[in-house]
Amino acid sequence: MTAEPLDLLRTMLLIRRFEERCAELYSGGQIRGFLHLYVGEEAVAAGVCAELTEDDSVVSTYREHGHALARGVPLESLMAEMFGKVTGCSRGRGGSMHLFDRSRRFVGGNAVVGGGLPLALGLALGDRMQGTPAVTACFFGDGAMAEGEFHEVLNLAVLWRLPLLLCCENNLYAMGTSIAKEHGSTELALRAASYGATAWPVDGMDAVAVNRAAARAVDEVRGGAGPVFLELRTYRFRAHSMYDPDRYRAKDEIADWRDRDPIELLAARLRADGSLTDADLAEIDAEVVARVTAAVEAAAAGEEEPVEELTRFVYSDTSTAARSVR
């Protein structure tokens, strides 16, 4: 199964508008902490998540707004989390880097590079041992492939033929270090293949291409073939985080990639084949913007967790250890 291109476009626009609004709110001081924007990489989250069922699990990174939105985590609860409200998806304890939603099997943003990979391996192992056909999709970047966890996890996933979809978002930079400075071999899919996993590179700016690749990959993984590795070649249009002055990238390079904006790319294709008019796009955009605006209003009006609840969830409420931190 593949997704309707129009749905992919809608998801990408939602991510884009959500994040543009986050950037404004960050500048205005309403969102704090670190904020890592996904702008430019939307085709990856939209294309992959469209192929997952509700029984599948998703593990993400600190650059996770796109994955959470594409996974269907309500944008109201995401925006409320940005505001640090109790109405947020992590009750204000996670912020932008630690979004969780158990009901959508969204097992969080992991802010230690590579740290989500072992967790995802275990989710896949748990599914396998319980005989469910579920798949775990784990997103990580090119930087994570320099971590030992990548090696350990891919080796184990192949060894145990676990239902793990490894989505490497190769945006060419590990924070400010270019891929040429971080990897002896920059052919990431080839490296993954050397472990015995099926692996191939995908144009990560083309949502339809990502979606087709994900559909095939998910089929293989669900069918018991073991892990599949997708190298999704993409680019972030904005700096690493809101603190980053972006001194390490050439303006021309950014401009060249912006010419392949995944939203523009898909919209142009749909216009060309007659399935989208400018008016349609404007309508979708207006609808998305209205949803984001409503989410911001709800987040701002949301309640804060009382400080009396500070130490709640250190241990489970039912644990006798909970008393020790009260």
């Binding site: 992590s90 996670g94 969780f100 990979l117 967790l119 275990g122 748990g126 041992m129 241990y315 644990s319």
Partner: protein, 340 residues
Amino acid sequence: MTAKARSKATSSAKGPLVETTYRDALREALREALREDDRVFLMGEDVGSYGGCFAVSLGLLEEFGPERVRDTPLSESAFVGAGIGAAIQGMRPIVEVMTVNFSMLALDQIVNNAAALLHMSGGQYPVPLVIRMTTGAGRQLAAQHSHSLEGWYAHVPGIRIVAPATLEDARGMLATALSDPDPVLLFEHGSLYTMKGTLRADAGAVDLDRAAVRRPGTDVTLIAYGGMLARTLEAAEALDAEGMSAEVVDLRTLRPLDDATIVGSVRNTHRAVVVDEGWRSGSLSAEIVARIQEQAFYDLDAPVERVCSAEVPMPYAHQLEAAALPQVASIVAAALRTKG
């Protein structure tokens, strides 16, 4: 089983006494857990074909098969993280890490994931995971197999740290740990595996909340855990000959600490010695001393003493290793110093 197990300080088993060892008691606990709950599985380096680095899981592969007694590659971070993920997905994994020194390779998963996920997710993701590992010195294994780093883990909120020092606890702590909704790290002292003794045939789950008074006394409280308990009890006997009656408290659980039992004993004896195989700087022993002075300062007749390992990476040579570790004589001397 949870509530029942928690309600008793120690096992209330009444069956006949049988000869056993610490290792066999641990194995029996594993066997029982694997038998009673299909969600339980054991995973780690050499737990299967080899029978466990210290032969704790010997025979379990044959009994339960390779799915549930799962050999892993040498990938501590990946298989500890896999335990976390599998726990979230509904399993009840028991992950074995060969030694606490090796667990440094999985520290990120333990501290940044296992201990933090519940809170970071606003209560959505408890991690019912048990991690077993060997700790401690005494076998001339030098600086990368001998350290007592459980105190580091006891620093971290979100996990429970337990250290069985007796056969009853070796047999009974695992079941309770598995019924805990949150991660439990279980530290087996390497010198205890061959410890022999008797255990009730129907020994079972024990609580993980309370410290235990292993020997009553009136003049000084000796506080120990894990591998240090036996020699602390020996020191208590020696102190009798010196005319000093020592009470021995076995911490059992290093996090959360059972302040009530520790402080209760010190209030009676007015003197305390903390025996900890970990290094003293920034340590669990320092934490216990701090709690005693916070809660029982005016009950004390003397400064609280500590007997810890010398601040060196553990050396190989037998005389150097022995000199680095708390010994009966140094515990006795510390207790006598509290008399002034």
